[in-house]
């Protein structure tokens, strides 16, 4: 009967022009582009291929962390341990290589450390209903403690095979990349597919939308929650590997507060901390924003320590405000 008539009309009235869910990501993108343009006009040598590829190279590990963090945040959780797990992974890599273990054995072990810690988080959070913040905070202390136990001092990595793996790939002219960028890109691709084209991914979103609802919908909440933390832990382990490649060393104090960078990147990328909405591509844009802020600071070149912090804060604020304005305009 006429029931659906008004509905049809409303459906037509709120057209598909642009899904509101993409707005924050779009906002991030626009502001990022804006920053590049402003930077380019303000500083010489800013918009060179070398600077742009450095942006990716310097932040490959953070991209991987942010990707993992996105899964967790989408479920409405948080993972504070990633910085410490990253450090642990670098230390494990360096220590094992120093002890003469072969690279093909060391790499999976380093990543696996993260996986195991992630699994422990998942179990604590799901089975024992410990709040994610606390469980992963404990995980953070734990991983840091292990780092110190293994090696309080930094260990250089001299293994030729590993060094080879960590070296440059010339693409064209000044465009060059490291394999970490490639790995980060693959991780991103896999994460995107997992989130948007698998039941696991959609369940991640569903849990963020409402755990109770997801449970009553008969979705595998338990498995998915645990898996989300496993993904994050694994990404942290992998991030550690990338960082070890980047710095060719393992050090127990690396990555202090790096979890905040990862969380900030995810949130700047338009993901809500309450879970359920956001995109992994946004998180990568978030990482690029943070990286770009850092680049701008170095190009500025005259900031004292305190102005550096203040400028970072202000840029972050400008960024968040612009993004907010852009995404509000259309609602």
């Amino acid at each position: 009967m006429t029931t659906s008539a008004p509905a049809r009309r409303t459906a037509a009235r709120i057209p598909v022009r642009l899904d509101r869910r993409y707005l924050p990501v779009l906002g991030t993108f626009v502001v990022l582009a804006l920053m590049l343009v402003v930077g380019g006009t303000r500083y010489d040598n800013f918009l060179t291929p070398a600077v742009v590829s450095n942006l990716f190279i310097n932040n490959a590990h953070l991209v991987v962390l942010a990707v993992g963090m996105t899964f967790v945040i989408l479920t409405g959780g948080i993972d504070l341990s990633v910085g410490a797990v990253l450090a642990l992974s670098t230390v494990v890599t360096a220590a094992l290589l120093q002890a003469g273990w072969p690279v093909p054995v060391v790499l999976p072990l380093a990543v696996g450390v993260g996986t195991v810690i992630g699994l422990a988080h998942g179990v604590m959070i799901h089975l024992f209903q410990v709040q994610p913040f606390v469980a992963t905070l404990a995980g953070m202390f734990f991983a840091r403690g292990l780092c110190f136990l293994i090696a309080p001092e930094s260990i250089a990595i001299g293994d030729p095979a590993f060094v080879e793996l960590a070296s440059w790939v010339q693409i064209a002219g000044q465009w060059r990349m490291t394999s970490s960028v490639l790995i980060a890109a693959i991780v991103l691709g896999v994460a995107f597919l997992a989130l948007h084209f698998t039941r696991f991914g959609r369940t991640v979103y569903a849990i963020g939308g409402g755990e109770q609802s997801a449970l009553l919908m008969g979705l595998p909440v338990a498995r998915t929650t645990v898996l989300a933390y496993v993904v994050s832990g694994t990404c942290a382990g992998l991030g550690g590997l990338l960082f070890a490649m980047y710095s060719r060393s393992g050090y127990s104090l690396t990555g202090v507060a790096m979890e905040l960078d990862a969380i900030a990147a995810v949130v700047i990328g338009g993901t809500l901390l309450t879970g359920g909405t956001g995109f992994v591509l946004g998180s990568v844009l978030g990482v690029l924003v943070l990286g770009l802020i850092q680049t701008v600071i170095t190009f500025e070149g005259t900031l004292s320590s305190w102005w550096t912090r203040i400028v970072i804060g202000v840029l972050l604020l400008v960024f968040v405000l612009l993004q907010r304005v852009l995404s509000l305009r259309r609602t």
């Binding site: 250089a156 060393s249 050090y251 690396t254 320590s305 550096t308």
Partner: protein, 305 residues
């Protein structure tokens, strides 16, 4: 102003101005602030420098990033105080490939290939610990002193080296380190840890703190426990910042080994030499003094930091 450096041509010295990119660890302590100030005050336009300064906020990745950025900006010299000892080979190789000389300040890098940097200017932390230890042995050996140690940040080079130097120096004496905890180089933690030590031991005779700040924290704790620092419990520290020297003059600290943060003039000199293509020494050890109460009284009025 906007960046100069002239698009990749690293011959910025043609115009007589040396563009120097400096990447500082952070601003984690008063010592570091003095260090930064010395560098910023020395490498000025009047002295023929164009200083590009960046603060890595104690993150190695920021530092690597800054150095890479200096390379792409094409500076004449890069100088930095590494956050960690390891992990610099890759980026230093890049600098070398780009023909930009690198000077290390304050902390060393742990690299096999010494050609990656021109020179390392800084104190010898082991020696600092040793000087402290030697003085203690000289003064108190034979009295069975019980020593507690306030360590620096776990795993940091100064903490490791100062511990090592001190232990080596007191070896063979009857001084005994009965407890050792990290105070993270800060006053507040120095105070808390010292409070804990005082709760735990009744027989502490001497505190060895890896920097002045922790020593100053320990003074507060000792006073709060109703004892007199410098008398009931002796205090020996490293750094010799102004506050520490004041405490030394006041008799609350007994001995301070200096760790000189004023690396600016040395850095300027070496940078000029390097750009001019002159040969420089690989290792330039900054001379550290040590002060007892008498020496401190003399030095304090002219102390800059």
């Amino acid at each position: 102003g906007t960046a100069t450096g002239g698009g990749g041509q690293s011959g910025g010295a043609d115009d007589g101005v040396i563009t120097l990119g400096f990447s500082q660890v952070g601003a984690e302590s008063g010592w570091r602030a003095a260090n930064t100030k010395s560098i910023q005050d020395t490498l000025t336009a009047e002295n023929g420098f164009d200083l590009k300064f960046s603060d890595a906020q104690q993150k190695q990745e920021n530092q690597i990033q800054a150095i890479r950025s200096y390379i792409t900006q094409g500076v004449d010299v890069i100088a930095f105080s590494p956050v960690v000892e390891t992990g610099w080979d890759a980026v230093l190789e890049e600098a070398k490939a780009a023909g930009i000389p690198v000077i290390l300040t304050d902390r060393a890098v742990d690299s096999e290939d010494e050609s990656l940097y021109e020179s390392f200017i800084g104190s010898d932390f082991v020696k600092e610990g040793q000087m402290a230890g030697e003085w203690v042995v000289d003064q108190y050996d034979g009295e069975g002193y019980k020593v507690v140690e306030l360590q620096g940040t776990t795993g940091a080079a100064p903490a490791i080296d100062r511990k090592e130097g001190f232990e080596a120096a007191i070896e063979g004496s009857d001084l005994e380190i009965i407890d050792s905890q990290t105070g993270n180089f800060t006053r507040a933690e120095g105070k808390t840890v010292m409070e804990g030590f005082l709760n735990k031991h009744d027989d502490i005779d001497l505190v060895y703190a890896h920097n002045d700040d922790m020593g100053l924290g320990a003074i507060e704790a000792i006073e709060a426990a109703g004892m007199t620092p410098g008398e009931d419990i002796k205090i020996v520290t490293v750094d010799a910042v102004k506050d520490g020297m004041q405490a030394l003059v006041d008799g609350k600290i007994n001995y301070i080994v200096e760790c000189n943060p004023l690396l600016g003039p040395d850095l300027a000199e070496i940078a000029k030499k390097v750009v001019a293509g002159e040969e420089v020494e690989k290792r330039i050890v900054v001379e550290d003094q040590a002060f007892d109460q008498e020496a401190a009284k003399e030095a304090l009025p002219t102390r800059e930091y």
